[in-house]
């Protein structure tokens, strides 16, 4: 029963979900070569191509981001892309969540 509630907690709902699971945002992110530090050492990501957004989306969901390591900072399981706090606020893919 507790599991169901957790699933409900992280199930997409309204605007918040667009941050994490929205297919449209996936499209944009894979439309460009990912920045160097976002390269994951796992074999799945060896052949990421701009038009393989769907494949990348599946890989993302499979890994759950757990094995992703940020080469610059050594952070495991963290957000991909540029450092979220690089301009002082907490930023993820353009959206600020705290400051």
């Amino acid at each position: 029963m507790a599991t169901n509630k957790i699933v409900r907690l992280i199930a997409p709902s309204g605007s918040v979900s667009s941050r994490f699971l929205e297919p449209v945002s996936r499209f944009f992110s894979s439309g460009t070569p990912p920045p160097p530090q976002a390269q994951s050492p796992t074999p799945n990501q060896d052949n990421v191509k701009p038009d393989q957004n769907l494949q990348e989306k599946e890989e993302e969901e499979e890994e759950g981001g757990e094995e992703f390591m940020n080469k610059d900072t050594g952070e495991i399981g963290g957000p991909r892309g540029p450092e979220p706090t690089r301009y002082g606020d907490w930023e993820q893919r353009g959206r600020c969540s705290d400051f």
């Binding site: 667009s18 945002s25 957000p79 301009y87 002082g88 705290d98 400051f99």
Partner: protein, 658 residues
């Protein structure tokens, strides 16, 4: 100490000199004893045979000289089973109002001592915590220090912080984080196996613990899982808290619980408890644009004010300068966005330029750093432009940058805008400041105590002295965790010393649910429609006159307009059959919004300086002599409006007929 102010309106003034902490009046009140009437269960409740012996025993602890103190190892004195006389009255040792990090953290701890009810007005995860995606700050790196964290906090707070509170929070933070991890919250770690710590604006060391980019959600998930698995905790979702149940014991006000409205069943449920924790979060929805979810209507601050609790520092409202302005989107969202989409500072950092609707770049006029000026300078500048030009939003233009870079760095903004017909690689983004966090709230001592006995506070609803005039990034989750934990010990001690008078459940009149039957179909829907409209009008007044850049004239105008709006709304209600004790969700939220709005305006009027988040054009500088908190005392009950007065009255005959 909680002196009644004879004139009906709220009066705000300064607490002269040092900020009082914990001692003095509250300790005095402790020793005056608790006058829960000790009726020896004459009332024949059906479950009375099942009442544990502990309930029937004499009071333990310091009040009954003839009784030996209960030893630590024995069952806690006075711990009652959670029982319902009927579905409409429930008894718990502890009642927690709010299911964010503060409420849940506290519930888990006190559940080891007694029964706990957690009341939440929506789904349990629906709270400001869930949307706090950034991180929690704590000194967890050996190179970091508590002093450094303290210093950063005090500087951010414009030195209005209470030093001892800051010390306590910064010192106890790390332990609270470790406990969270032990409870199952998983935060990002580094290759070396240690927690990965980010460095957020205003911090001089790396100290932000986070879970990818959904820290609040992860903490909420872990706590909620533990709460739902705890047999001593009962969660009542979709229960809206209406008003606290209090009565006078000499000079002190004592809290005995809370009346709630079960929104799904449309019935009133009364919770009686020995200890009540208010952890109901913020009040973002007094403004039209806010990052807060819809539940943040300032219920806790309003209820506490009506219950004679002291409120503090309400003028310090934190705004983010650039939230996506729906009015400027080519395709307007079909339903009003529940919580604002904040555009990161990184857009400006990467070269974004701010323009007003006349396509003038205005930032260089306000600050030589232009778009890279500190956030509060940018917020003030935008606000000033909007007021001067009487416009609804300004423009943030990043389209002069390479398309690929924009899409790589800001895909969320790109997709959100594209959904509404805007291509940010070619057009500017409409932005407007959004209310984000309330630094002020119910005045709390070092262990979360308020001036109302039996009432504790933690989280955003509280004003602990940590944030001062401006909150340091990621300190809000930390404050909630620390104070929720600190409130446990005094709560437990109080619970053990208290004997609940179970026959006192009808001491207060009951709220009555507004129904189509009692008011008439048409009347009820008219009232709800008017309430929606009045809420919008209140938000407009607040934004227009009590925004980021303030002045005495504007604040006085706000005060007048809010009073007129409130009178108009209340008159309509009461002329159409509404009564003092009638409740409905929309109306109750509206009265809370009015209450909080008035608290903010009064506080803002009282501070004749500019400090931190509070900026006044007629007092544009910091004044050392004014470096003290703003205090609001309870208003007189006789002349107060419906929003300023507790719904329930104490019955003139306090004996219950058996």
């Amino acid at each position: 100490m909680a002196a009644y102010v004879s004139v009906g309106n709220i009066h705000a003034f300064y607490l002269a000199g040092q900020v009082h902490r914990g001692q003095s009046y509250r300790q005095d009140s402790w020793s005056s004893g608790f006058t829960f009437r000790t009726s020896p269960f004459k009332v024949p409740f059906p479950w009375s045979s099942g009442v544990p012996k502990a309930l029937k025993s004499e009071r333990c602890g310091c009040y009954s000289p003839g009784v030996s103190a209960i030893s630590e190892s024995s069952k806690p004195c006075g711990s009652i089973r959670a029982v319902s006389v009927s579905s409409s009255t429930k008894y718990y040792d502890f009642t927690v109002i709010g299911s964010g990090v503060a409420g849940l953290r506290y519930a888990l701890e006190v559940a080891k001592q007694g029964t706990v009810a957690v009341i939440t007005k929506d789904e349990p995860h629906e709270s400001n915590t869930n949307y706090a995606q950034g991180g929690v700050s704590a000194v967890l790196c050996p190179l970091d220090s508590v002093e450094s964290h303290m210093q950063d906090t005090m500087v951010a707070g414009a030195h209005l912080c209470d030093e001892e509170t800051v010390r306590v929070v910064c010192t106890e933070g790390p332990e609270r984080i470790r406990e969270l991890i032990a409870m199952g919250a998983s935060f990002d770690h580094g290759e070396d196996g240690n927690l990965h710590l980010a460095r957020e604006g205003g911090h001089s060391h790396r100290r932000i613990v986070h879970a990818a980019d959904m820290t609040g959600r992860e903490i909420e998930r872990a706590l909620l899982e533990a709460v739902l698995n705890d047999p001593n905790i009962s969660v009542f979702k979709h229960h809206f808290a209406i008003d606290l149940l209090t009565s006078q014991d000499g000079l002190s006000t004592v809290c005995y619980g809370v009346d709630t409205l079960n929104i799904k069943k449309n019935e009133v449920v009364r919770f009686l408890s020995k200890v009540t924790l208010l952890a109901s979060g913020g009040a973002g929805h007094i403004y039209p644009s806010t990052t807060n979810p819809l539940v943040a209507t300032g219920d806790g601050m309003a209820m506490a004010h009506r219950a004679q609790a002291v409120i503090s520092n309400m003028e310090f409202v934190q705004f983010h300068p650039t939230a996506l302005a729906d009015e400027g989107l080519p395709i307007k969202p079909q339903t009003a966005r529940e919580n604002a989409f904040l555009i990161t500072e990184a857009v400006r950092g990467d070269g974004g330029i701010l323009y007003n609707l006349g396509m003038e770049r205005f930032m260089p006029v306000y600050d030589e750093r232009a778009e890279l000026a500190p956030r509060d300078v940018v917020a003030r500048s935008i606000d000033d432009q909007l007021k001067k030009r009487k416009e609804k939003y300004v423009l943030l233009d990043i389209s002069h940058k390479p398309r690929e870079k924009i899409l790589a760095h800001f895909p969320n903004i790109a997709s959100e805008c594209l959904k509404h017909g805007l291509d940010i690689t070619r057009q500017p983004i409409p932005v407007v400041p959004a209310a984000h966090y309330m630094c002020g709230g119910v005045r709390a001592a070092l262990q979360g105590e308020t001036n109302v006995l039996g009432l504790f506070v933690a989280g955003e609803v509280a004003c602990t002295g940590l944030h001062g005039a401006n909150r340091l990034a990621s300190n809000s989750l930390l404050e909630a965790l620390v104070f929720a934990r600190r409130a446990v010990q005094p709560s437990t001690e109080l619970m053990k010393r208290t004997k609940l008078d179970l026959s006192a459940s009808e001491k207060w009149t009951r709220p009555v649910v507004a129904t189509a039957r009692s008011l008439g179909d048409e009347v009820l829907s008219k009232i709800i429609a008017l309430t929606k409209e009045v809420r919008r009008e209140l938000q407009e007044v607040m934004w227009k006159y009590v925004g980021i850049v303030r002045s005495t004239i504007r604040l006085n105008t706000a005060e007048r307009k809010i009073a007129e709006l409130e009178a108009k709304w209340e008159t309509f209600l009461f002329e159409h059959g509404w009564e003092q004790t009638v409740v409905a969700l929309e109306a109750c939220e509206m009265r809370n919004l009015f209450c909080c709005a008035k608290l903010v305006v009064s506080s803002a009027l009282a501070r004749h300086e500019s400090r931190g988040l509070h900026y006044m054009t007629d007092y544009p500088f910091v004044e050392e002599s004014k470096r003290i908190p703003t205090i609001i005392l309870p208003s007189s009950p006789t002349t107060a409006s419906w929003s300023s007065r507790r719904l329930q009255n104490i019955r003139s005959s306090s004996l219950v007929d058996c």
